[in-house]
């Protein structure tokens, strides 16, 4: 069976666990502990190892959804999960103190996944904090990853339709990039 590992990364409180719950066919496996960092995210618990969900596409294909802990002190988990991943859905909460800086930090850490497959950025909580606008994110991505086209969407992690749109866009971008590269190779 072909397995397609998609990571969900982003700062604490961006909605990674919720996004996986919105997409997963199985009950999400969560590894949460009491949140001791109330300043960064005002929620009771936070992911300390990983969240896991899956979508069985067919007898031959399964999409595995892994949520990585948002706090840097758990970044040893990032390395392990990155190796198997073909794509990344990066969630950034717009009401963070400096969401663009968060974007920078996670792209620096996970940017290599664009070469292996693809990345989609989902900006959450834009209903609470309307700015920065998507253009700002897109502009920053062009600066730090020139020549790469990374989709950026506003999203509510609780909204299954929106998370499906993000996932489908990620897969579409991965497959299209591969097709274009293949065509260019043939042309050369």
């Amino acid at each position: 069976m072909a397995e397609h590992v998609i990571l969900f990364a982003g700062p604490m409180g961006a909605g990674k666990t919720t996004a996986i719950e919105s997409l997963s066919e199985i009950e999400t496996i969560r590894t949460e502990a009491t949140n001791t960092d109330r300043e960064t995210a005002d929620k009771d618990t936070t992911t300390v190892a990983l969240d896991y969900g899956e979508i069985t596409v067919s007898d031959e294909d399964k999409v595995r959804l892994y949520g990585v802990p948002g706090q840097r002190r758990f970044n040893f988990m990032w390395t392990i999960l990155k190796e198997r991943a073909v794509g990344l859905i990066l969630l950034v909460n717009n009401d963070a103190a400096d969401p663009i800086e968060e974007l920078d930090a996670f792209l620096e850490e996970f940017g290599e996944l664009h070469e292996k497959g693809g990345i989609v950025v989902c900006v959450t909580r834009s209903d609470v904090a309307p700015t920065p606008y998507l253009d700002k994110y897109a502009e920053r991505i062009r600066e730090v990853m020139p020549g790469r086209m990374i989709p950026v969407f506003t999203a509510d992690a609780r909204n299954a339709d929106q998370m499906r749109t993000a996932l489908m866009s990620l897969i579409a971008n991965i497959e299209m990039t591969a097709m274009i590269a293949g065509n260019q190779e043939r042309a050369a």
């Binding site: 606008y133 506003t154 897969i171 299209m176 065509n183």
Partner: protein, 401 residues
């Protein structure tokens, strides 16, 4: 002055003072129709003809006619069409006739249909079409929208049930005065599913609305606008906040529009918004109008020989989109393509690809490549494994999209 004028060409006013713009617009509204040279006036440099001050360095595109405004103390430029200040209606009409002759003798590289626009003067607009100033807007008197306005209506060129031109569209009937606007059918619910579906239902007047919106966006100045659809509601747009308000779903407004007018005005940046913020994203409106307008042909400002690439993906989580739109975005997000190449890469029809380009362009998402020497891009989907389709297709089936 009625509202039966059919504009065949658009006239862009570039670098002129507000008084000069107002004078020209007034002359055209009051004199041009009778003189047989109606024009649609826009504040844009992507029109068929442009009026630009003679002391401003400017080069028009090959398809455009450049008219120089020679202000007092300046010298006319040899070989160029010129009008002088103080502006007079007779001189303006005379020069526009020359421009019209010039345009009609040119063979444009892209076969764009001539503009079919009915213009109406301010007095012809129903009283309730005046700009309503919301409470707290900051001005005690209504702020009339007179700048850069283009009031448009559907062409009264109906077709019969079998799609052939209605007898009223025959040449003999073309000059018959339009008595009254067509009655508006009561609003019908519209299934809002496929983003490009039911395009034939889309009123031709929306083509002109798209042109006007594009002109405003290209101007980049702080502006507000109102699109009024008779017997329905008004769409309010505040370009400063990239937001709009409409109480009726767009699909319903568009499907039922028989008389449509757009009015826009420049506003100071500090003025309060005319929409209830956050409002709806302007991208949503542009995506809808852009993908439905022009009946599957390229927007007049797009050149078929150019290639385009996305600057950023459209925000699909807020747009009414089809799954195929994602593949199209993925294709044109990763390389420069024209409509035919986009169709080939994304596995959609050329018409769908053209509509997609129109919408992206109106939304301001496209970079343009004008390099004519680039080899045409051809796409061959990778061979599929047994079981058929890539992960995208399988997920699509699985998720029922």
């Amino acid at each position: 002055m009625g509202f039966v004028t059919k504009a065949r060409h658009s006239l862009g006013l570039v670098g002129l003072s507000p008084i000069e713009c107002a004078k020209i617009a007034t002359f055209i509204e009051s004199e041009a129709e009778d003189a047989g040279c109606p024009w649609l006036v826009l504040h844009s440099d992507s029109c068929d003809a442009l009026i630009v001050p003679s002391d401003v360095e400017f080069s028009a595109d090959p398809y455009q006619v450049l008219i120089r405004l020679v202000r007092f103390g300046n010298q006319p430029i040899d070989g160029e069409l010129c009008i002088t200040t103080p502006l007079s209606a007779a001189e303006l009409i005379n020069i526009l006739k020359k421009a019209q002759d010039n345009l009609s003798t040119r063979s444009r590289s892209n076969d764009v249909a001539p503009m079919k626009v009915k213009m109406e003067d301010w007095g012809a607009v129903p009283a309730n079409d005046r700009h309503h100033v919301p409470a707290g807007f900051g001005t005690p008197t209504p702020h009339h929208m007179t700048n850069g306005s283009a009031a448009l209506k559907t062409e009264a060129w109906p077709v019969t049930a079998d799609g052939s031109p209605h007898p009223a569209t025959q040449p003999s009937a073309m000059h018959a005065p339009v008595q009254q606007p067509h009655p508006v059918a009561p609003p019908q619910p519209v299934t809002a599913n496929a983003s490009h579906g039911d395009a034939h239902e889309f009123s031709a007047a929306w083509d002109q609305i798209a042109v006007a919106l594009y002109s405003i966006v290209q101007n980049s100045a702080p502006a507000v606008a109102e699109i009024r659809v008779e017997n329905l509601d008004m769409i309010r747009i505040d370009f400063r906040f990239r937001a709009y308000n409409s109480r009726i779903p767009l699909e319903q407004v568009a499907a039922n529009g028989s008389r449509i007018a757009i009015r826009s005005t420049l506003v100071e940046a500090f003025r309060p918004p005319i929409v209830n913020l956050p409002g709806e994203s302007l991208d949503k409106l542009f995506w809808f109008i852009g993908s439905q307008a022009f009946h599957g042909t390229g927007a007049p400002w797009l050149k078929p020989e150019d290639r385009y690439r996305l600057r950023r993906w459209p925000n699909f989580t807020e747009l009414n989109h089809a799954v195929a739109d994602m593949r199209a975005a993925a294709a044109i997000g990763n390389c420069f393509l024209n409509a035919a190449e986009l169709a080939s890469a994304a596995g959609i029809s050329v018409e769908s690809a053209t509509r997609t380009l129109n919408a992206y362009s109106l939304m301001g998402l496209l970079e343009i490549q004008t390099d004519k020497t680039a080899a045409p891009a051809t796409f061959k989907p990778p061979a599929q494994k047994e079981g058929g389709g890539g992960l995208f297709s399988k997920l699509r089936t699985k998720l029922g999209l």
